[in-house]
């Protein structure tokens, strides 16, 4: 599938309430600019992010997923992001196994004061995913299934 020139990826960023969500708010307060395609979903802790959420995002055609939390050692809930870190190292391999480019998935630590890091990360991930092109892996399969069902 040729990449359209006007392709704008849809990116979902799961951000923990205490660090990255605050950092994203701070980016707004400082009027920093980043691409419009990053959509933040607020979660209490990065440890709340069930791998299922990420799979669902990719399944529904999301082009990129970010999971962001407090820096290791700074978790508001003391240990949540350690689980995140381990969980998403494995997650990358699961994605690869499923045929989704693991480069579409990014786990980052952004503290409540690192507004600039949030901006840079959003821009970087957006740019990176843009290069990878649209995520059609499951969307195509959906269409095939739908048309197959329509045929019968």
């Amino acid at each position: 599938m040729p990449v359209e020139k006007s392709f704008e990826p849809a990116i979902v960023a799961f951000c923990c309430n205490w660090c990255t969500y605050t950092g994203a708010d701070l980016a707004g307060l400082n009027r920093m600019k980043y691409p419009e395609n990053v959509h933040v979903i607020r979660v209490p802790c990065s440890g709340r992010v069930n791998p299922q959420f990420i799979l669902r995002a990719f399944q529904k055609g999301c082009d990129g997923v970010m999971v962001c939390g407090c820096h290791p050692g700074d978790c508001h809930y003391s240990t949540g992001n350690y689980f995140t870190r381990r969980r998403f190292m494995i997650m990358k391999r699961l994605l690869e196994y499923n045929g989704i480019d693991p480069e579409r998935f990014h786990a980052r630590w952004i503290s409540g004061s690192e507004a600039a890091k949030f901006r840079d990360t959003a821009a970087e991930v957006s740019e990176h995913v843009k290069k990878l092109g649209p995520n059609v892996k499951y969307r195509e399969e959906f269409r095939i299934t739908e048309s197959a069902e329509a045929g019968t």
Partner: protein, 659 residues
């Protein structure tokens, strides 16, 4: 079918100048479940809130989406408003179209499009919202302070002065802690005992404080506001209810053992007060060393006691009490340097003292009545070497951290030697001199003026030669090897957490850092709390610090405790984990993951077909759960879910984005 109301805020021009509110309203009206949509200049203002209230009654709305600033800004405002209208405050979602949209984007069309996406995500999420109810838990108006050093004393006094009951628990037979052992305090050279003993007396006499000495925490259960603590009262063998502390018993005891308080520099009897100014000023019997309790013949103290206080049959008892808040103030100990530094003689040389041993030596109430003499021959030293950072800043042999107080008390020791024994040569080996504190740098300067010689470098070896101690080291400023023949060496050794801190923190569920110090909830913003609700910390149990910092932190912890105990009951956040028992297999993965010990396995009666069975399921304690959701992602069967952030709610948000 839900009736959702969507309200778009212009925030003056903050939002409306970039995002087109009309587009949002138009898009909202197309969404399933949306019964009403409107916009206003300032939603958070009084008329804005009134407009929402009116729309609720007019259109029969049951859940509200507000597209406005960050929920971190006005979520509580709008929740309060909903509560007043009679709608459950958790039937609210906020689409953050200011901080995360209008303020960070320039292109109006794209920003409006993103705002529509964010609003749609919130509408989808709220379709799965459910009313949540905060639980209130009663609060036991009594605090437990663990550790009777200056931190515990200060915290207990502050809480008690505010009118709350306090139990001050101390492992030793007297409160006072390390501060009671010190001679003078830097940089003002106040006599340590003169400023700490009045406070010790105060805690002993305060009507709101119950002093429990010779006690240890044995068990802890419950949660914030409602802790049940099992306290072991160790046998004292002396009835403190009738003892007047006359001290007659101590005079005739035939046993002589090394005094803990004087760090082995003197002896004490087996029936003893920790030190003369002890609070309570009553003796206990050391059962390890008492001749009679070891099975021998004696009983002299019982015969001597005019009131018959001595009871050799005394036993350890467990007392259970309830507390609303707990303060950890267990303090520090000095590292066991002989086991770490073989090159300093490993404890073979009598004239090498630790900093604390020197404090006892120079203390007027100490074993030498304040005369600075060599323990080996009782002679005054002519040359003294002070070695700093013994065990501190030494990742190879000791601790990687700086013990913070040593630079200053090394200067104080030098000053005291030069003051009491004018003409003595004092050499201080150091890595850096750190004096961050009020009046500290000036004190250090004064010590150098007094004649102390600072040598930058570590001491590599200390050995005995002709009755003197040869300290070999490097002067790294000269780049030369130096060697000093000293009559006395003082090692300013590192602080480490008190023994038993691992057991205590695991009973309380509090975390420790890599160096075993108790972990604060946030290193900058919550320095006097642990991450366990209702458990606070004060003093050096959190990390090395000097007396002013310890006292400040103790008062901070006390303020937190008072704030908690002033409430009669507290609301817990309803956004916590919930278990669907039918789905739970009782695997227990969540139990280990929970950082708050909020999840436990509970045995329930169930049916398997027609058969009655018992099985284990996860159970969440609403007082302990903080709502992080770590257990929900780890749950294999999906039995655990986080209220307010349910799987289906988040998945709705994801789906809404990927249309």
């Amino acid at each position: 079918m839900s009736r959702i109301g969507v309200f778009v805020c212009h925030c003056g021009t903050n939002i409306a100048s970039v995002v087109d509110p009309d587009k949002l309203i138009a898009a909202a009206r197309e969404l399933p479940g949306v019964a009403y949509a409107a916009d206003y200049k300032y939603m958070c203002s009084e008329p804005g809130q009134q407009m929402i209230k009116d729309s609720i009654s007019e259109h029969g709305l049951d859940r509200i989406v507000i597209a406005s600033c960050s929920p971190r800004m006005h979520e509580t405002t709008f929740r309060k408003m909903l509560k007043n209208t009679g709608i459950n405050p958790y039937m609210l979602e906020i689409a953050n179209i200011r901080e995360q949209c209008s303020w960070v984007h320039v292109d109006k069309d794209r920003a409006s499009e993103k705002a529509v996406n964010l609003m749609r995500m919130a509408v989808s999420k709220i379709s799965k919202n459910e009313p949540l109810y905060a639980q209130t838990i009663p609060i036991t108006k009594k605090a437990l302070v663990i550790g009777g050093g200056i931190a515990g004393i200060q915290a207990a006094l502050d809480i008690a002065d505010a009118g709350h009951e306090v139990v001050l628990l101390e492992r030793e037979s007297s409160v006072g802690g390390k501060m009671a052992m010190l001679d003078k305090t830097f940089p003002t050279l106040d006599c340590s005992a003169c400023i700490s003993t009045p406070k010790m007396v105060d805690v002993g006499a305060h009507p709101n404080i119950t002093l429990m000495t010779s006690c240890e925490v044995e068990s802890v259960s419950g949660y914030i506001g409602n802790f049940e603590v099992g306290i072991k009262q160790k046998a004292r063998y002396v009835n403190h209810d009738i003892c007047t502390g006359c001290g007659l018993c101590e005079t005739k005891c035939p046993v002589k053992v090394e005094s803990e308080f004087n760090l082995g520099l003197s002896t004490r009897p087996a029936i003893y007060k920790l030190f003369p100014q002890a609070v309570p000023s009553k003796p206990i019997i050391d059962k390890e060393n008492c001749r009679l309790l070891k099975g021998g013949k004696c009983g002299i103290c019982a015969k001597l006691c005019p009131l018959g206080c001595v009871n050799y049959e005394d036993e350890d008892r467990t007392i259970t009490d309830n507390f609303g808040a707990i303060v950890i103030a267990t303090g520090y100990q000095l590292v066991d340097w002989p086991s770490m530094y073989g090159e300093y003689g490993g404890g073979r040389y009598k004239d090498i003292l630790s900093g604390l041993q020197f404090e006892r030596t120079v203390n007027a109430a100490g074993p030498t009545e304040g005369h600075i003499v060599r323990p080996s021959d009782g002679k005054e030293p002519e040359t003294v070497v002070i070695v700093k950072c013994v065990g501190s800043r030494d990742p190879n042999k000791g601790k990687s951290y700086c013990s913070r107080a040593c630079c200053m008390y090394a200067a104080k020791h030098a000053h005291q030697i030069l003051e009491k024994l004018p003409g003595t040569r004092v050499f201080i080996f150091y890595i850096d001199v750190r004096t961050p504190g009020k009046g500290y740098e000036e004190f250090y300067d004064q010590t150098r003026m007094d004649g102390a010689v600072y040598v930058r470098g570590r001491v590599s070896k200390i050995y005995e030669e002709e009755g003197q101690l040869v300290c070999r080291g490097e002067d790294s400023l000269l780049g030369e090897q130096v060697s000093v023949k000293a009559d006395m060496v003082i090692l300013e050794t590192a602080m480490e957490p008190s023994p038993g801190i691992a057991e205590l923190t695991s009973l309380l569920g509090a975390a420790r850092d890599v160096n075993n110090w108790v972990q604060e909830a946030h290193p900058k913003l919550r320095p006097a709390e642990t991450q366990v609700g209702g458990v606070f910390l004060a003093g050096t149990c959190q990390g090395p610090k000097d007396i002013p910092d310890t006292v400040a932190q103790a008062s901070a912890a006390a303020a937190k405790v008072i704030g908690l105990l002033n409430k009669s009951e507290m609301e817990t956040s309803p956004m916590i984990s919930a278990v669907e028992r039918d789905k739970c297999s009782g695997c227990g993965v969540c139990v280990g993951i929970c950082p708050y010990k909020a999840v436990t396995l509970l045995e329930i009666d169930d049916r398997h077909g027609a058969k009655r069975i018992k099985r284990e399921v996860a159970n969440v304690n609403s007082g302990l759960c903080q709502g992080c959701g770590a257990c929900t992602s780890a749950c294999r069967t999906g039995a655990l879910d986080l209220l307010g952030f349910r799987n289906k709610q988040i998945l709705e948000e994801v789906d809404a984005l990927c249309l």
